[in-house]
Symmetry: D2
Subunit: 345 residues, 4 copies
Amino acid sequence: MKISFESDYNNGAHPEVICHLLETNGKQSQSYGFDEWSEKARDKIRDACKCPNADIFFLVGGTQTNATVIDALLPSYAGVVAATTAHINVHESGAVEASGHKVITLPQEDGKLTADSLSTYLAAFHADPTWEHMVQPGMTYITFPTELGTIYSTSEIKAIYEVCRRYKIPLFIDGARLGYGLAADGCDIDFPWLAHHCDAFYIGGTKVGALCGEAVVFPTGAPRGFFTQVKRHGALLAKSRLAGVQFDALFTDGLYLRISAHAIEMAMQLRDIFREAGFVLRPSPTNQQFVELPNEQMHALMQQILFETWEPIDAHRTLCRFVTSWATTSQDLECMRSALKTLQK
Amino acid sequence: MKISFESDYNNGAHPEVICHLLETNGKQSQSYGFDEWSEKARDKIRDACKCPNADIFFLVGGTQTNATVIDALLPSYAGVVAATTAHINVHESGAVEASGHKVITLPQEDGKLTADSLSTYLAAFHADPTWEHMVQPGMTYITFPTELGTIYSTSEIKAIYEVCRRYKIPLFIDGARLGYGLAADGCDIDFPWLAHHCDAFYIGGTKVGALCGEAVVFPTGAPRGFFTQVKRHGALLAKSRLAGVQFDALFTDGLYLRISAHAIEMAMQLRDIFREAGFVLRPSPTNQQFVELPNEQMHALMQQILFETWEPIDAHRTLCRFVTSWATTSQDLECMRSALKTLQK
Amino acid sequence: MKISFESDYNNGAHPEVICHLLETNGKQSQSYGFDEWSEKARDKIRDACKCPNADIFFLVGGTQTNATVIDALLPSYAGVVAATTAHINVHESGAVEASGHKVITLPQEDGKLTADSLSTYLAAFHADPTWEHMVQPGMTYITFPTELGTIYSTSEIKAIYEVCRRYKIPLFIDGARLGYGLAADGCDIDFPWLAHHCDAFYIGGTKVGALCGEAVVFPTGAPRGFFTQVKRHGALLAKSRLAGVQFDALFTDGLYLRISAHAIEMAMQLRDIFREAGFVLRPSPTNQQFVELPNEQMHALMQQILFETWEPIDAHRTLCRFVTSWATTSQDLECMRSALKTLQK
Amino acid sequence: MKISFESDYNNGAHPEVICHLLETNGKQSQSYGFDEWSEKARDKIRDACKCPNADIFFLVGGTQTNATVIDALLPSYAGVVAATTAHINVHESGAVEASGHKVITLPQEDGKLTADSLSTYLAAFHADPTWEHMVQPGMTYITFPTELGTIYSTSEIKAIYEVCRRYKIPLFIDGARLGYGLAADGCDIDFPWLAHHCDAFYIGGTKVGALCGEAVVFPTGAPRGFFTQVKRHGALLAKSRLAGVQFDALFTDGLYLRISAHAIEMAMQLRDIFREAGFVLRPSPTNQQFVELPNEQMHALMQQILFETWEPIDAHRTLCRFVTSWATTSQDLECMRSALKTLQK
């Protein structure tokens, strides 16, 4: 079987996660979020975030989480502001629109929304005499790390959050790959800082060692009726232990950040391997690496390694994505090194 | 800890299911439904249903599955016909309405929709000169077994399906607890029969031994764009192996029906225990038993056993629900027997 | 051409209304609700309601108005409580559900919701341990007069409004035929009383002398973003003068109530004509009269008079509806009297 | 009162329209689209379009019409492709998203979508391996004339329509100002040509001489259930005569095109007046003229003439919009000429 760098969701759960599922399996529990592991996991996340009053909900997957949180935070006549490259704008099959909300897009820079463009847009919106005929910007959505593997600095998020507060709209941070951002070289953000610089965020489990599960954190309390919103969006697990047990494991002995740090270590080595072989990579300090491959070499590499093509660069070259995870090993990297060598002969 | 008959979702997974998750965990796989176990599980379900051309999708939970299938089968201006007691009408927080569709309710008999009332309603609808001003009945929804634990006979479903075909609307069967219906004493329905007497149904996993997962079966093919619909409804698992592995286990060596038969055996013994103790039960051949308890005895029993109150019968008595599952043991029943004895002293 | 008692919307506008459209036609104006006639009409309605701070919007038709107001008053996870016979539940093609909200139905008595059944339902809802899994009752909707032509007394609406306030949910009154209720014999409600006993209501224009138009009144202020909601629901007239001019006419010299009183006078005479001819009528003090007609006589009458069949009573009799309006004349009544005589021969 | 060039909806109806409303007012009629004038107007439009089998519906306003037609033409999981400047994307308060559909935007050229960019986008979409995770392009929307006053040529629309047919998605043309496009100098499109080069379009009445009303034309037949969709979107007039009578007038003796031609004549003279006064105009052959005004002169002109600012060009200049209609007179133009002269002093 080929070595795969396709994604961070083509392996099972991290061993400590699957083991916790096994060891707790025989025990009876409450359901719908009231099981003991969900309670424990909530406490551990509150501790990690230094947010003793945070409301925390465990949902199943990322698209679902985005759609549910956005619908809960917006009045029906408002939309969510996001970068054009935002996952909600591109790869969620219109789940946000399905609950009646427009995704209002602003240009991205390295996958990021900027406080400047947000501020300019909001100022122009409110200055426009026809504003009441337009979708009202009701919240801001950013991803951390972004879809392009880049990360925001504290000053960038702070600036965005200040704009949001000035216009009295909440900031929601999609952390489907949150750990890989926090563990990235040069990242000056940690859980407590994040929790104090937005109104809602989620800690992605699916892509960071769990089989499924995303932990939504409302640092200062959930919007009214959120439990019912979760159910209404089909996002409520009857056997909530499935998510609770996994997040209990992920927040025990720092597993979430250990997984993340490992994947980043692997990603940085992978980066070096590509560079040494003479390839150009896009800037990314996280577990997704984007490499420019001449099409011929791309096809040759595909014979040995699984990975995703991202987008054509020109007629001769393609941007390709290579992703690491908890399951990536040094041997995988050696295979990649060897594969690249065969390409160059 | 108290013995619990609260629900069929307050235990972990059946041991064969959790073991399969463990043993497959180390293997890499495709995602979004294309993993090898999802493929195998599909084949096994097609075999079990004698439906070689069925399209099968694995979703996460029941409410989500109902909302997604119903939205996919209906044109936007149509509604779904169901009994007043239907889960979609009562306990899904308006998930069907959230995608713009009305639940058109007809009276229930023992939790069931009848072909007669369906036929009468549809005839009246089409005879009504104002029909174009009303929500058009676009499909029929029934649960098997019902929310009250009862089951339809082949002749009852056949009659309903004939009405549906006469009016050219699809029939969708919610099988959140499907196994417990199929395994019930007196049930003359099996998988192949079911698959040939409706347009869509789902095989509930969450309540029948899995941690999560519902297998949607379209015996003659899925509606157009269904994959995108699943994603749009937040119901697509990135690590689809989670559902695939579990259904692979559930459809290996007849586990799904073994679990179901065990729970039914336990439920029938539970029934006898209540009866011997002099209590009145509502008719139910499945794993949910509804017992009329005088309030004083109900409160006393709650000290020893976990169970749900269903609804008040009058000022002095309450209908209570006791549910069995793969995890119910003979010892649990003995505890119940002893508990009932202490009540009567 | 046959005399018609089919509806109160099969004539043009009342002469004073159409004249005002003509006489103002040459004048330029603002649009989107800011034209001078809309402003004047608002002031006149505020005066009539003794509600100097009311927010008033002019929409086009009834279904649209109901859908817009209900969507604006409800959080997305909540539904609207209404009688089973409510127009929003029966004859609006699912417009309420189209914006994601369930219509929660309670039994009707003479077409009316009762404070008792509302109170019992709300108490049971909040006592139900599964309430968070259900659609939350977010507002109450009643029609005045009802779809069956009956009217609420002040004590009935007061009692309903008290229940609503106890549960902190708004009361919305659909007044598509409001004038015919206010002008009905025995009605103890007037505009100011109504405006002080609900959170929103609308004054129907289409069925009370206008060509189109419904005036939504929020006695203590509109919900946030309502203008944008109106636009989003496709209910904002660019040439808002169309509605403004008509309501300006309707609220000049008491025209709205003059039209209503005339139609009621005609309806009461029609009632007498049917009674004298030996027919049985359902109780209705308003402009819709429901008569039980043997099918043979119904078909004979249809040869001479236009009217609507409402619903079959049994195999031999049909409930038929006869409606009066500003355009009904004494001659029309004489024709009816003659027609009934020919039947009886 | 100031002369107004603010919009084509700040006057009443064209005299022939308002007169027809008056002269038909006394006559009884059917409702909900079945009145005699709606029937006549449909026949006249079918004649004008040389489309004997067209289905035609009269709705009230433009936003409503767009939302209803788009919802009716799309499956729930699909979106509508449009230029970024499209009215549905900018100035309809999210009415399209309110029914669950994304507006997929492509860059505009002079306000127009190009066949090239449409074709490139559709090819890329279908070539993208993640297409099933994205909103599926289910139809194309263009405006004729555009929001910037420009018009498509026959070859441009033909090319777009061919792309649509290649990808089997319908083309819908928003004709809120259709007449002004058809009457524009250099326009090689007429009603029959248009009706044979799209799947749906509407003939705007509100902005072309009526008080309200848009005629939706489906040249080869309406989508299933369209009547119910209209009602569900709150777009069905009970007194449908209001729209029917107006369109009957608009399509009698070529009034629709006479109004349009007059407004175009006025617009071209207005253009000359601005040019002679030394101002720069954007290219527009229709009734909306966009003039670059230095801010100081803009403010001075506002003292004498009503018009709309469109958008800032830079710190010193603003793009301003001047609109003509049936009601614009030669005197109005003379006033403008004088006003401009005073500016230049």
